[in-house]
């Protein structure tokens, strides 16, 4: 097992806490959409059970292909499956994602032709061929990026702008308590829009009227680029940060991006002070309690480690399978300035030995908690809802709450409905 910042290619171990939203749940963000999977039945099991857990099963069906279908090619079956499905659905969806699985990458199904033919047959439905193909992980378009691209491709170019701003890439809307909302309102933005706020496909189209896209999570970058090219909506990347100085820079950057040289800048002083006070309080309360950070909880665990280290917390360990580009600089900083911090890969085959138990710790993330046996846990997933000074304040609150409680990790993991 490495602990020196080197990342090894090993067999992958999956703890019961491994996983996240999965493409099914992500795709379901598109209002009035339906999903049809064309795949061997096995490929659909985790997605279907995850959808049941999330109450989404009534928007997903499967068309099982067998070995003979795969050998013969199933282009025609895609068309037939959609016809058959539409006959039994009580309500026609506005959009349908037709998913194929990993094996489709190797057999050359003409997905573009299938999509075109489906739209010709059913002009009232927008079809998108989509891919649940983790075999492409590590490429430039793995499933989380591909599905976001396809979701936002359903937004049609609008003739006019209405001054709104979209947040893209984040799967959960930024909490209403976050000062970003106040800042945007004060600077004349009609609202910070997020796909999860819409139930109605037509109403959702107003996101295409927005003047700008704020990309808050890396998987949304391709979707934003595509929206810029197709709808003329410019974008900037502002990844979630827990560093007070980085947040200050981000707010200056957002101001300049949205309203260059016009509206007065929103004064973040009070928000920053509140965050600073929260940090000070939590540092005092937690003392030397060892912290374990997990890339399932925050997208950029090294950036978080750097910030927490600067505040005076004791970061003991970081779990990250790899270093993403937007976290690379922080990774290098951590390895240079925090040499005692252990860096472990949560999927490394040696994790199964469970010889790195550390019960007297606080884990930010359930996967880290499971592997380390932490008594104290924050059940945060992918920075959900957090941003800016509010994000820092909220994280401090969560750390204090976690330090005071011992959680039933098993119940928590099973309730979340994690999907690989």
């Amino acid at each position: 097992m490495n602990s020196c910042g080197c990342f090894e290619s090993t067999l992958h171990y999956a703890t019961p806490a491994h996983g996240g939203w999965g493409v099914v749940r992500m795709g379901m963000l598109a209002p009035e959409s339906y999903q049809l999977f064309i795949c061997p039945f096995a490929c659909g099991r985790h997605g279907a059970l995850g959808a049941l857990k999330q109450g989404l099963k009534d928007r997903i069906s499967y068309y099982y292909v067998d070995q003979s279908d795969i050998i013969n090619g199933y282009d025609d079956l895609i068309l037939n499956a959609v016809e058959e499905l539409l006959r039994v659905l009580k309500k026609r969806p506005r959009a349908m994602f037709v998913f194929v699985s990993c094996l489709d990458d190797l057999i050359g199904t003409d997905c573009d032709a299938a999509e075109a033919e489906l739209e010709l047959r059913h002009p009232d439905i927008q079809f998108r061929m989509a891919h649940m193909n983790p075999i492409t992980l590590g490429s430039d378009e793995p499933p989380p990026i591909g599905i976001q691209k396809r979701i936002y491709s359903l937004l049609s170019k609008q003739p006019e702008r209405d001054g709104g701003v979209n947040s893209i890439g984040n799967l959960v809307a930024v909490d209403l308590e976050c000062e970003l909302h106040k800042m945007l309102t004060q600077e004349g933005v009609s609202g910070l829009r997020h796909v999860s706020q819409y139930q109605d496909f037509d109403k959702w189209q107003e996101m295409a009227k927005s003047s700008a896209n704020l990309v808050l999570m890396p998987p949304g970058m391709k979707a934003a680029k595509e929206m810029e090219a197709r709808c003329g909506i410019p974008y900037r990347f502002f990844p979630v940060s827990y560093d007070l100085d980085v947040v200050a820079e981000q707010y200056r950057g957002i101001h300049e991006f949205l309203r260059p040289n016009t509206a007065p800048i929103y004064d973040v002083t009070a928000d920053r002070e509140a965050a600073e006070k929260a940090v000070e309080h939590t540092v005092k309360k937690l003392g030397k309690l060892p912290l374990i950070l997990d890339s399932s909880a925050v997208v950029r665990p090294f950036s978080l480690a750097k910030a927490l280290g600067k505040y005076g917390f004791t970061v003991h360990r970081i779990f990250a399978q790899e270093v993403i580009p937007s976290d690379r600089e922080a990774f290098e900083w951590v390895t240079e300035h925090m040499p005692t911090v252990e860096i472990l890969q949560p999927e490394h085959n040696d994790i199964v030995k469970f010889d790195r138990r550390f019960p007297g710790s606080l884990s930010i993330g359930v996967n880290a908690a499971y592997i380390s046996g932490s008594e104290h846990v924050i059940d945060l997933f992918a920075d959900e809802g957090l941003f800016g000074y509010y994000g820092i304040r909220r994280l401090m609150e969560l750390m204090e709450e976690a330090a005071d409680t011992v959680i039933d990790l098993r119940v928590l993991i099973e309730d979340y409905g994690l999907v690989v």
């Binding site: 490929c43 659909g44 985790h46 049941l52 058959e84 992980l137 199964v352």
Partner: protein, 383 residues
């Protein structure tokens, strides 16, 4: 399974069956996939995963490796893990992509075995067949490779074949084992709940195989041919039925003949849904304890070599739905997730008997033990 499936989740696949079968062994096992297939098994098909140290991994297959047919990358990872974890056995398990590109799982297994000196088994699982096929294949491979011809048999020794958490909750498995102990039957090996390599090696010391699910049938036939061990196909469900089962066990032991008990059959308004052996056993229990007849709605295929009485092959969602809503049945026993198929106008009493291979941890209820008299309270309600 058939084609369009609108309501039900897909059931457990063959690769999960192989993993489930070898779960208790000191092995390094690898599902050759990208991540989703392993996620199916660890997330939804293995109730024992939480808190376990079983070394079942994902190979992390990537597109370029599949296109180039680069097996060496996986082999090297297996060798590294083996060196670190020191297993007694290595297992390679196929998935849809290896099926498409024609990966020779058995050939790679032979290569790894030659390099490590550790026994290595390869399975050409595809994700297009059910868990029961995977369990059966794994048991067969273990028996063919490791089970020794015994010097002598143990007269009251029995094996349990097909005892899998995908069909049996932990309480049912314990009750079944307790029923053996209470009746002076010695359990030689339990495929696959609490299995050890020693038990695999000694399995042929048994004088009778007790088949308790479809996944146990093929291994039972193999052991009959190879070691001359007869088998009995029945789960002791119901008080009176358990007494009958016990008599059948002793008859099989004494006469060294296989037996597949079969209900008398006839008209009925009761439908039992699930694994064929489970359905047949409930059918026998209803008949023995309550004088009732039931139809078996087999969800995972039917065994053509078994005698048929009121057996339905409900191979896809449409057929299951038709059976449930056809109006013939007033009382249905099955996994609670199958309730999704009941139409509002269908008048039917549904009795929940959860199966992990269907609803996984999503049944919303604790596992039910159906062994012996534990099932009678449940059965009494449908008289």
């Amino acid at each position: 399974m058939g084609k369009l499936c609108v309501k039900l989740p897909p059931f457990s696949p063959d690769y999960s069956g192989v993993c489930s079968a070898i779960f208790d062994l000191n092995c390094v096992a690898v599902i050759h996939d990208a991540s989703g297939c392993t996620g199916n098994y660890t997330g939804y098909d293995e109730p024992r995963w939480y808190g376990s140290k079983t070394a079942i991994f994902c190979s992390g297959l990537r597109e370029i490796d599949a296109i180039l047919g680069d097996d060496e990358k996986m082999i090297q990872k297996v060798l590294d893990a083996t060196e670190s974890l020191n297993p007694e056995l290595i297992v390679l398990i196929g998935s849809p992509v290896p099926m498409v590109i024609g990966t020779d799982m058995k050939g790679i297994a032979a290569d790894i075995e030659a390099r490590t000196g550790i026994p290595c088994l390869g399975f050409d699982t595809t994700g297009t067949r059910y868990y029961s096929d995977g369990i059966a294949e794994a048991c067969l491979a273990l028996m063919e490779r490791f089970t020794r011809m015994p010097e002598q048999k143990i007269p009251n020794g029995v094996n349990l074949l097909g005892l899998t958490p995908l069909d049996f909750g932990s309480s049912a498995a314990s009750d079944l084992k307790a029923a053996l102990a209470q009746n002076s039957l010695e359990l030689i090996s339990s495929f696959c709940d609490g299995l050890t390599m020693e038990a695999v090696q000694n399995a042929a010391q048994a004088s009778l195989n007790l088949v308790v699910s479809q996944s146990g049938l093929q291994p039972a036939r193999y052991m009959e041919q190879r070691f001359g061990i007869p088998y009995l196909v029945q789960i002791p469900i119901g008080r009176k039925a358990q007494e009958n089962w016990l008599k059948a066990v002793h008859n099989c032991l004494n006469e060294q003949k296989s037996l597949v008990p079969c209900a008398a059959g006839g008209e009925t308004d009761i439908l039992v849904l699930g694994d064929e052996i489970l359905c047949r056993s409930v059918q026998l229990g209803l008949e023995a304890d309550f004088g009732l007849t039931a139809d078996c709605g087999c969800l995972f295929g039917t065994e053509s070599e078994l005698p048929e009485t009121n057996i339905l092959n409900l191979e896809d969602e449409q057929k299951i739905e038709e059976a449930i809503t056809c109006g013939k049945y007033r009382r249905i026993i099955g996994d609670p997730m199958l309730r999704m198929l009941i139409h509002p106008e269908t008048e039917v009493d549904f009795f929940d008997l959860p199966s992990y291979c269907i609803s996984s941890k999503m049944s919303g209820m604790s596992p039910v033990s159906c062994i012996g008299e534990w099932f009678n309270a449940f059965l009494a309600e449908i008289r």
